[in-house]
Symmetry: C2
Subunit: 374 residues, 2 copies
């Protein structure tokens, strides 16, 4: 693990990597400039702190806290003194998990109908199941107010933890819940204005690799069609596009970039505009799977071949003609990693929020290797 005081710069590609998983490990720092260092969940003392102060092992503290046998009176007194000195309060969520009531965790998605969230949800559910917990889902429909309403409704229904794909950019409303011991991991997009665990794909690096791939196949006039710029992943992928173009010394024209909602009408119009006029783009980078499937439709009707690389893999991408080259993120790994961290928070073995970035993978299938048509 990194020294928690080191600063995280997303432009810095020398991010330390976990040897076992290949995941990048970076401490999460609050967005918008307010740097934090080594903050613990809810700023509360943990069992680990109690164990350190009392000079005993975690298991011993756990025995004392849960009234289990096997601790000498002297040790028990030392632990109790440490508990009082630190103001330690048992994490009720973790306790609930042990007490036999059916535990449950909540998953707040963005859109129930986006196939990207299918494997992610299922992975979270599998981890929950392995821990004997039920998974309860809800969707924000990309509405920050609805996200907040749903998160608080799940907390009111006493979920033990939350995996959140955030729609909003300010999660301070969660602070009382975090202090009350609700475990929380953000996934796909970071939390805003609070210090929380987050598991992301490397949107910036993935997009940069995908656009560089198009440039390597001779393209210079490359369009970017993405989701709304307030969405973290959309902004990061646009940044990756710009970085790849800058690396190749290609000035980007404003008309090559289109960000907005990903409904088929808007995306179709954006693609058709880029493909018309005296100097049309010869390649398109699509910012997510919703964009890609619409661009595939537009290109199927287009008279000249246009290269395409899409962010996100999707079902049947390999069976289209040409097969669609994609920057694949591992949606199941995102969900699994987030859920595993959630249960490590609940069992008290994870105490410092981190930012984990999973690598993406370029899968070449034909559409991204087409040369420029002119």
């Amino acid at each position: 693990m990194l020294d928690a005081t080191s600063s995280y710069n997303p432009m810095d590609r020398r991010i330390p990597v976990d040897d076992r998983t290949g995941q990048r490990i970076v401490p999460e720092t609050a967005r918008r400039g307010d740097r934090v260092s080594g903050t613990r969940y809810g700023n509360r003392p943990t069992m680990k702190d109690v164990a350190a102060r009392a000079g005993v092992g975690l298991k011993t503290v756990s025995r004392v806290v849960n009234g289990e046998p096997g601790v000498t009176p002297d040790t028990e007194r030392r632990v109790q003194e440490a508990i009082e000195a630190l103001g330690f309060r048992r994490n009720d969520s973790a306790r609930v998990l042990r007490k036999g009531r059916t535990a449950s965790i909540g998953l707040v998605l963005e859109d129930l109908a986006d196939p990207f969230y299918g494997p992610l949800s299922r992975a979270v559910e599998e981890v929950a199941r392995a821990h004997g917990a039920l998974l309860i889902n809800g969707s924000s429909a990309e509405d920050p107010e609805r996200e907040q309403e749903l998160v608080l409704a799940l907390c009111a229904r006493r979920v033990d933890g939350l995996v959140v794909i955030p729609a909003g950019g300010d999660h301070r409303y969660l602070e009382p819940e975090l202090r009350a011991g609700v475990a929380t991991v953000f996934v796909d997009r970071p939390a805003g204005r609070i210090d929380a665990d987050v598991v992301l794909s490397d949107s910036f690096g993935g997009a940069r690799d995908g656009v560089a791939h198009l440039i390597a196949h001779g393209h210079r006039r490359i369009g970017f069609i993405g989701d709304m710029p307030r969405i973290h992943t959309a902004a990061e992928r646009l940044r990756g596009y710009r970085a790849a173009m800058e690396d190749a010394g290609i000035p980007v024209e404003r008309s090559w970039m289109s960000l907005g909602v990903t409904d088929p009408q808007r995306v179709r119009r954006a693609a058709e505009e880029m493909l018309s006029g005296p100097a049309p783009v010869t390649a398109i980078f699509a910012g997510n799977n919703r964009v890609t499937v619409t661009v595939v439709r537009v290109l199927a009707e287009h008279d000249r071949p246009v290269a395409l690389v899409g962010f996100d893999d999707f079902e049947l991408a390999d069976l289209l003609k040409p097969g669609v080259t994609v920057v694949a993120q591992d949606a199941a790994a995102l969900g699994r990693t987030a859920a595993e961290r959630l249960f490590r928070q609940l069992d008290g073995t994870l105490v410092t929020p981190e930012r984990i970035e999973l690598p993406t993978r370029l899968i070449t299938r034909g559409s991204g290797e087409l040369p420029p048509a002119d």
Copy 2:
């Protein structure tokens, strides 16, 4: 609405149709032979019964029950007498919806990663939202025990109603919840051994139409690959296949039918077996979208063209070569219809369980119109 004492015979195609929606309307009768007639939810008297007995309107009963002003003392006494005589108990779920607490409904799915459930879930969520209620999802992973655990966990968390895609065949465990006033609608598959609202697609008719389409294009050796036979939709689609073959006077060989889990390995093996040997099938009917996408892969590697019709539409089916002919069900309409019925139960305007069958639609795109290769 049908006379509730008429019997429902799924072989009878002269099912009455709602003029406005085109939906077939049939009263739900309990499966496994125990006929019911006009049963009300939980067999409890409703506000309508109170209103009829007191000789007043529903709104007046509602005012008395909720302690609202605008009722004369004489009328109030008449209503109170009717309430006592009938043993009417206010529906707490409906009351909760009116009292300002955030209402919520639960949706129990089968598999979070199956794209068929995406539009269904989103439609349920949209209806819930229009009623000011949150939607909470969970998935049974096709495990009856897990379905029961999840349903009861949602009830314990005080959802006001449940939309259930059942995994199990015995839902008597729900009876106490129904009596307690939890609104419930089953969707995609019927409830087992209880009398409950159910909204289905016409799996039997859809499969029969799809197989008849293949027969009309000259096929006789037609394979059927479907889900596990204990799943209602799988059994109904197999029945539709058999009916179409029988209608055409084609004896079905055992080796042409393969039912089981829909994972790619099992489906691939089944398809390859049907396509090999001295008298291979010349066409395949795929029982759901999970089966279809695997069969598409197998056929893409096959040396001779084989016709294919799949149950369920799926994204990009039209862009494959050839386009995939499907029997489309309207997943969003299933979800919307079920959720609307749920809220009609909650507001007290729907009191008799029914079985609603939505029609399917054959969409021809090329794969189902290929002639036999031999």
